[in-house]
C-alpha cells in the first residue's frame, strides 16, 4: 500500500521524477567513478608489483627503481649478501641501458634489461625461449616490428653511442630467441632483455659488476618489511623498498588524483542528497492538504512518513541503478584518457571496478536519499491537521 502510494505520487509528475532520477544517476556515476579512481590506482599498482612474487626492490641509495641512471657497484657481492639474509628466496639483478640495433637503415633504439633469465621477473615469454646458446635476446613486439626481426634472426646490437665520434662502448651480434611482454613497460615500448653479463660487458668499465636494481623474492611466511630492513642493514649503499612502500610512494606521487577523487566524490554525494531533499520537500509541500486529509481519516503519522521516505528511496535506488551503468561506461572512457600517459605499463588501470567499494558508495548514496526524505516527511506528518485542512481549503 505504502509502496503503491509512493509510486503513484512519483508518477504524478513524470518529467520531474525522471529529471530527479537523471540527476541522482549522474551524481551516482560521478561518485562511483571517483571511488574507482581512488582505489583503482592502488590496487592495480600493487597487483603489478606483486606479480612474479618479488616483494622487495633494491636500488641505489636515495633513489627509486629506474628513477635515475645510478647503479649499484659490486653487484655480485651484494647478491651474495642478500641471499644470506633469512627469508630471502631469490635475488634478481637487473641492469637497464639503451641499446641500438644496427642495420642498413637508421639504428633502432630500444630500452634493454640485462637479467638473469633463471630468476627474472621483468617479462613474460610469449614465444621461444630466453636461454639460447651464446648471446640471446628476448624482444617486445614493438621492437620486433621496428627491426622487422623474427625469432632466430641475428641482430647487431650496440651500447654507449657517442654521436660525435659515431662509436659505441660495446657491440655484439645477438640471436633473437624469444618474444615477450614486458611487465613494467607499455606495449608501445621497444624493449629487449639480454643476459646480464652481456649488458655489463657492452657497457664497458662503467658497467662492470654493476646493476640498476635487484628484485628480491621472500618466503611466503616471512614479513617483507623485516627482510627489507635486513637488506638495508647489510648494504648501506642501497635503498630497499617493499611492495607496500612502493605502493605508498606511488600513492604519494599520485595523491593529486586521490584527493581529486575524494573532493568530487563528496561533491557528488552532496549533490545527490540535495537533489533528493529538494524533490521530496517540494513534493511534500504540494501535498500538504492531501497528507492532512490522510491524517484526518486515521492514517498514522508513521505511515505517512514511511510513504514519503519510500519516495526518496525510490528516487535514490532508480538513480543509483542508472548511475551504476553510467559510471562504468564513463570510468572506461576516463581510464582510456589516463592510459595515454607516456610509458605507462599496460597493467596499470586508474579506474578499477571493485564490487565492494562500488556498492558501498552507492549504498551511501541511497542512505543519503533515505535521510533526505525523513525530515520533510516528519515535518509534513506533524502539521496540525485541522489548521492545515482549513488553510488548504481557503487557499
Amino acid at each position: 500500500m505504502r509502496i503503491q502510494l509512493a509510486a503513484l505520487s512519483l508518477r504524478r509528475h513524470v518529467s520531474r521524477t525522471l529529471l530527479a532520477i537523471l540527476g541522482v544517476a549522474v551524481s551516482a556515476a560521478m561518485l562511483l567513478d571517483m571511488v574507482m579512481l581512488a582505489t583503482g590506482m592502488r590496487e592495480s599498482f600493487a597487483s603489478l608489483l606483486g606479480r612474479n612474487g618479488f616483494t622487495i626492490r633494491v636500488s641505489p641509495r636515495g633513489t627509486l627503481p629506474f628513477d635515475t641512471e645510478a647503479t649499484i657497484a659490486q653487484a655480485s657481492d651484494a647478491t651474495a649478501a642478500m641471499r644470506r639474509i633469512a627469508g630471502v628466496t631469490a635475488v634478481a639483478p637487473v641492469l637497464g641501458t639503451t641499446i641500438h640495433v644496427l642495420g642498413d637503415a637508421e639504428p633502432v633504439t630500444a630500452f634493454a634489461l640485462g637479467v638473469d633469465p633463471s630468476v627474472q621477473g621483468d617479462y613474460e615469454l610469449l614465444e621461444g625461449n630466453d636461454r639460447g646458446p651464446g648471446d640471446a635476446l628476448v624482444a617486445s613486439d614493438a621492437l620486433l616490428r621496428a627491426t622487422r626481426a623474427r625469432i632466430g634472426d641475428t641482430l647487431d646490437v650496440a651500447v654507449g653511442f657517442d654521436p660525435q665520434l659515431r662509436t659505441y662502448t660495446g657491440r655484439r651480434r645477438v640471436v633473437v630467441t624469444g618474444r615477450a611482454r614486458f611487465t613494467y613497460l607499455s606495449a608501445d615500448d621497444r624493449a629487449a632483455a639480454l643476459q646480464l653479463a652481456s649488458v655489463q660487458a657492452m657497457g664497458g668499465a662503467d658497467r662492470t659488476d654493476r646493476v640498476s636494481l635487484f628484485m628480491v623474492r621472500t618466503a611466503p611466511n616471512v614479513d617483507p618489511e623485516s627482510a627489507r630492513v635486513a637488506i638495508e642493514r647489510a648494504l648501506p649503499r642501497v635503498t630497499a623498498l617493499s611492495t607496500a612502500g612502493a605502493v605508498a610512494e606511488a600513492q604519494r606521487r599520485l595523491s593529486y588524483f586521490r584527493q581529486l577523487a575524494f573532493i568530487l566524490g563528496a561533491v557528488s554525494l552532496t549533490v545527490g542528497f540535495l537533489l533528493v531533499t529538494t524533490i521530496v520537500t517540494v513534493s511534500v509541500n504540494e501535498r500538504i492538504g492531501e497528507i492532512a486529509v490522510m491524517r484526518a481519516i486515521g492514517v498514522s503519522r508513521v505511515h505517512v512518513v514511511q510513504q514519503i521516505v519510500i519516495e526518496g528511496i525510490g528516487l535514490s535506488l532508480a538513480g543509483a541503478a542508472a548511475g551504476l551503468v553510467l559510471g562504468v561506461f564513463t570510468a572506461r572512457y576516463l581510464n582510456s584518457i589516463l592510459r595515454g600517459f607516456p610509458g605507462l605499463p599496460d597493467a596499470i588501470d586508474f579506474f578499477l571496478f571493485q564490487p565492494d567499494s562500488a556498492f558501498r558508495a552507492l549504498g551511501l548514496l541511497v542512505a543519503s536519499g533515505i535521510a533526505a526524505g525523513v525530515y520533510p516527511a516528519w515535518r509534513a506528518a506533524s502539521l496540525p491537521i485541522s489548521t492545515t485542512l482549513r488553510e488548504e481549503a481557503v487557499g
Binding site: 537523471l22 540527476g23 659515431r166 605507462l344 605499463p345 487557499g395
Partner: protein
Amino acid sequence: MAIGRPARSRAARQISGVTTRRLRALRRGLPALALVAFALPAKGAAAQRIDSIAPWRGTERTIAIDERLAADAGLRIGDRVILGAEPGSPTGDTVRIAAIVERRADPAEVARSEYRIRMHLDHLQQLIGYGDRVDRFAIATAGGAATDSVLRRINSMAFGFRAYRSREIAVETSKTFLVVSRFHRAIGMITIVASATFLLCIMLLKVDERRRDVAAMRLMGISRTTVIRTVMLESSFVALLGSLFGVGLGFVTAAFVNAHYQSVYRTPLRFAIITPSTVAYSVLLSLVLGIGAGALAARRLARTAPLALFGR
C-alpha cells in the same frame, strides 16, 4: 650525486643520492618527469634566487640549493657540504652554499620530492667524471627567421648534434600534461552535466511552486505571454544571482585548492585558475539553463486552466 655536510662541521650525513643524466621515466610505473640535478651557466638560472651572498673570490667552489633542501636539511647560506658522485662515496668535494633558490612553478616537478642543487658546469663535469660534455645547449636567438637560420645551420654543419625549437621540445615533453588536461576536460563535462541537471530540476520546481500566483494572474486577465515573460524574467534573475554566488564560491574554492596543494607539494604553482572565460561560460550556462527551464515550466503553467492550477 650525494650531498652531505663535511665531517668537521657535523657528522657527515647523506641527504640524497641522485644522478645528473637523463631520467628514464615510468620504467617501473612511477611517474618520473624531471631532471634531478643540473648544472647551469651562471646566468642561466631559471629559478628565482631568494637568498644569496656576494661571489666568493677564493678557490672554494660554491653551489646553490633549492629551498626544499635548505628547509629539510637545515642548511643555510655559508654552510659547507660535501658533494659526492655516488651515494656513500668515501671521497667528495667540499663546497659552500652560496645561494638558496625558489623552485619554479613547473607542473613536471610537482609530484617529485627530490632535492635540487645548482653548480657551475665545469664543477659538475669534474665531479662526475663527465669530461668536456654536456647534455644539451640552450641557444638564445633574435627570434623569427633568425631561429630558422640557426636551426638550419646547426643541423647541416654540426656532426652528432640535432637542434630543436624549444616549442617542439615543449610539445614532446608535455604529453603527460595533455593527458591530465584531457582528463580534467572530461571530468569537467561530467560535472557540467550533473550541475545542469540539478539546475534544471531546481528551476522547474521553483517555477512549479508559482502555480497559484500564475493562476491568480491569469484570472485577473493578465495575458499568457506576460505571465510567461514574468516567470522567465524571474527564473533568469534567480539563475543570474545563483551563478554570481557560484562564481564567488568558485574563487573561494580555488583559493583553498591553491593554498592546499601549494602547501602539500611545496610549489608556487597555481592549481586552480579562474579565468574571465571560465566565469563567462558558467554564468552563460546557468542563464541558458535557468531561462530554458523557466520557459518550459511557464509555458506548461500558462496552458493549464487557472482553476486547475488552484486545484479546483
